[in-house]
């Protein structure tokens, strides 16, 4: 009967093409708007590192200076270079990584014009922790971190520009005056949220060059994002080698992540951080009461409001818009159905029950809802294109906001719900009409 009802629905749609189009368009507009904003929320709010985010924890320590009154309630969002080096020594996490953003000039081979690029200094564990996909080669080793070796992982876009897209593993790039050997090229990678940098520009694209963390000193790479300092350097400290200055100052600019798959490890690691801070207090650091945090990735996203609250509100409003659009279509369906009351009377006389007539008309509503849903998906692609134009595509041309299969299915589901909202009452009205009333008798 479903195919039969679909056939009857198609005949009905064709009988009134303009009315049918208006109904489909009404549903499409509702679905298009709601899918656009729900997708935006879905993109921003979804698990940034599927399968890993529930085991990745961010470390913060209450290292504020004595005079930093306004910030006492929460610890600083970043840690110092020396603290990062100490935390990296712990064997409690399965993996751990420290990173910060810097910037350097790239000197292409063959005398082409130099250009500057953001780069990230980090450790070998960064790449498996944040599931970075590789096109050629892979990350450097922990031994390369320890030495440190002048190696780099670069993006596909940079690899295309410098090496024509070829496998550049083993080739050399020049950053400032330093030759750096390429050990890996990552595949086009545009995570919706920069999970590794939630406290700094979480929605930006990843950097194009990754270097070992310990190269900060030898290459004198300064932090390029947020940093704060509350310690006045002693006389002569500014004449020291940059690497020494990094170990002495209290400039916070490093983000630190630990991979702790088990709850016991989280507890143990928190104790480790607390014990470390206690030891540093004896050296005159961390003057404020301990307020150390080991925060899960998803909790940190919530805390940092990575997903703007307005996004959630817009998504809710867009759903309301869909409901209102569907309610407005009730009248159109009612007029459409009641116009064929005589035909329904004949069907009832021939043996159709009320339920049969109800289902027949509901199928028609859902068929039109489905058509509206498909058109709505196309409209939402246009809406997302507008949003992408505002946010800008990431490197490699990967759109920031894009429809995935769950969202397409959600759009179709919304369309069917809209069809039901718009059609249930008219379908009930037409099936409830006494069959004798509209039969053309003498």
């Amino acid at each position: 009967m479903l195919l039969y009802n679909a056939r009857l629905a198609w005949k009905s749609i064709r009988r009134n093409p303009m009315l049918s189009f208006l109904i489909v368009l009404g549903i499409a507009l509702g679905v298009g708007v709601s899918t656009t904003f729900i997708t935006a929320y879905h993109v921003l709010a979804r698990d940034p590192v599927p399968g890993k985010s529930d085991s990745l924890y961010y470390v913060r320590m209450n290292s504020w200076g004595v005079a930093d009154d306004p910030f006492l309630r929460t610890p600083p969002p970043l840690i110092t270079y020396r603290d990062a080096l100490e935390l990296l020594k712990s064997r409690i996490p399965v993996r751990s990584t420290a990173s910060f953003q810097s910037r350097a000039n790239v000197f292409p081979e063959g005398g082409a014009r130099p250009f500057s690029r953001d780069l990230r200094l980090t450790t070998a564990d960064f790449f498996p922790m944040f599931a970075v996909p590789f096109r050629y080669g892979g990350p450097w080793s922990r031994e390369a971190d320890a030495r440190p070796e002048s190696v780099a992982v670069i993006s596909s876009a940079l690899n295309d520009r410098l090496f024509g897209g070829a496998n550049s593993v083993g080739r050399t790039i020049r950053l400032e005056n330093h030759p750096i050997r390429v050990v890996g090229v990552f595949a086009p990678w545009r995570p919706r949220v920069r999970a590794f940098s939630l406290v700094n520009s979480a929605l930006d694209a990843p950097e194009e060059i990754f270097l070992p963390f310990a190269l900060a000193g030898p290459m004198e790479l300064l932090p390029h994002e947020f940093s704060m300092n509350w310690r006045t350097p002693l006389p002569g400290e500014d004449k020291l080698p940059y690497a020494s200055q990094l170990m002495l100052n209290e400039v916070i600019f490093v983000g630190f992540w630990a991979e702790l798959p088990q709850a016991r490890q989280v507890v143990d690691y928190k104790h480790f951080v607390d014990a470390y801070v206690s030891e540093q207090k004896k050296l005159g650091r961390f003057p404020h009461p301990a307020n150390n945090r080991v925060t899960s990735m998803l909790d940190l996203m919530e805390e940092m409001k990575v997903v703007p609250p307005q996004t959630k509100v817009l998504a809710a409003i867009s759903l309301l818009f869909l409901v209102v659009a569907a309610l407005n279509l009730i009248g159109l369906f009612l007029g459409k159905f009641l116009a064929r009351a005589a035909t329904v009377g004949v069907r009832r006389a021939l043996g159709a029950s009320r339920a049969t007539i109800f289902v027949q008309h509901l199928v028609e509503c859902e068929l039109m809802g489905l058509a509206g849903g498909l058109l709505g998906v196309l409209l939402s692609l246009a809406g997302l294109a507008v949003l992408n134009r505002v946010y800008g595509d990431g490197p490699g041309g990967v759109a920031f906001f894009r429809l995935d299969l769950p969202m397409v299915l959600a759009a179709v589901g919304l369309a069917l719900v809209a069809g039901a909202i718009a059609g249930v009452y008219p379908a009930w009205r037409i099936c409830a009409i006494p069959p004798a009333r509209h039969l053309k008798t003498q």
Binding site: G351, A355, P434, L439, Q442
Partner: protein, 241 residues
């Protein structure tokens, strides 16, 4: 086949009550051909609607084919309408955007028959009324007589035990009307019970029994011809109180 006892049907419009059927009592045997006459507003249509389970009633009892159908659910009444009753209307009541095949198919769909059986029944029924060459014509492409024959085919395909015909020849010329009556005679001879409302005395006289309804009550005229033996000869009807 059909037995009504003291059936009363009341229409309520605001404070006004109209008794369309009053203590209506009737018995029709299986295979009988009964015609029903009466002035406008006498309750003929109401009787057809009630007997065809298209409308309910307030008092009384109604048995159809031995089953008490006085207080059935909508689903049960729909099933009985589909399986046991066939309707023929004055204005044909074909579904305009379905062709002949699909119009005759409608009741069979609701019966849940398989496609092959439906096709066989449809082709047989349409052939019986002589419209095999018009199987995929729309109603708008048929004459009035042809449309009524399609309506009859729709009934025949379902093989009902009871046919309720409401002025089936009212919109047809005399030649077409005679054709339709001939078909109904053949159907009745095959054993189907027919109750037909008509204003045409010639057609009324073709029945086994002629009934008259007035003010919602039945007045049974003299049986025109012995039932079930012999076909009735046209004789003038005599009213009997």
């Amino acid at each position: 086949m059909l037995k009504m006892e003291n059936v009363t049907k009341i229409y309520r419009t605001g404070m006004v009550e109209t008794r369309a059927l009053r203590d209506f009592t009737l018995q029709v045997e299986e295979g009988e051909f009964v015609t029903l006459t009466g002035p406008s507003g006498s309750g003929k249509t109401t009787f057809l609607n009630v007997s065809g389970l298209l409308d309910g009633f307030e008092q009384g009892k109604y048995w159809l084919d031995g089953l008490d159908v006085s207080r059935l659910s909508d689903r049960e009444m729909s099933r009985i309408r589909n399986e046991k009753i066939g309707f023929i209307f004055q204005s044909f009541n074909l579904i305009p955007d379905l062709d002949v095949f699909d119009n005759v198919d409608v009741p069979l769909r609701y019966r849940g028959l398989k496609a092959k059986e439906r096709k066989e029944r449809i082709e047989r029924a349409v052939g019986q009324v002589g419209l095999s060459s018009r199987l995929h014509h729309l109603p708008s492409q048929l004459s009035g007589g042809q449309q009524q024959r399609v309506a009859i085919a729709r009934v025949l395909a379902g093989d009902p035990k009871l046919i309720l015909a409401d002025e089936p020849t009212g919109n047809l010329d005399s030649a077409m009307a005679r054709e339709i009556m001939d078909i109904l005679d053949q159907v009745n001879e095959a054993g189907t019970t027919i109750i037909m409302v008509t204003h045409n005395p010639e057609h009324a006289a073709r029945a086994h029994r002629q009934l008259h309804i007035a003010d919602g009550r039945m007045v049974d005229l003299e049986r025109i011809a012995p039932f079930p033996l012999n076909r009735p000869q046209p004789v003038p009807a005599r009213a009997a109180v």
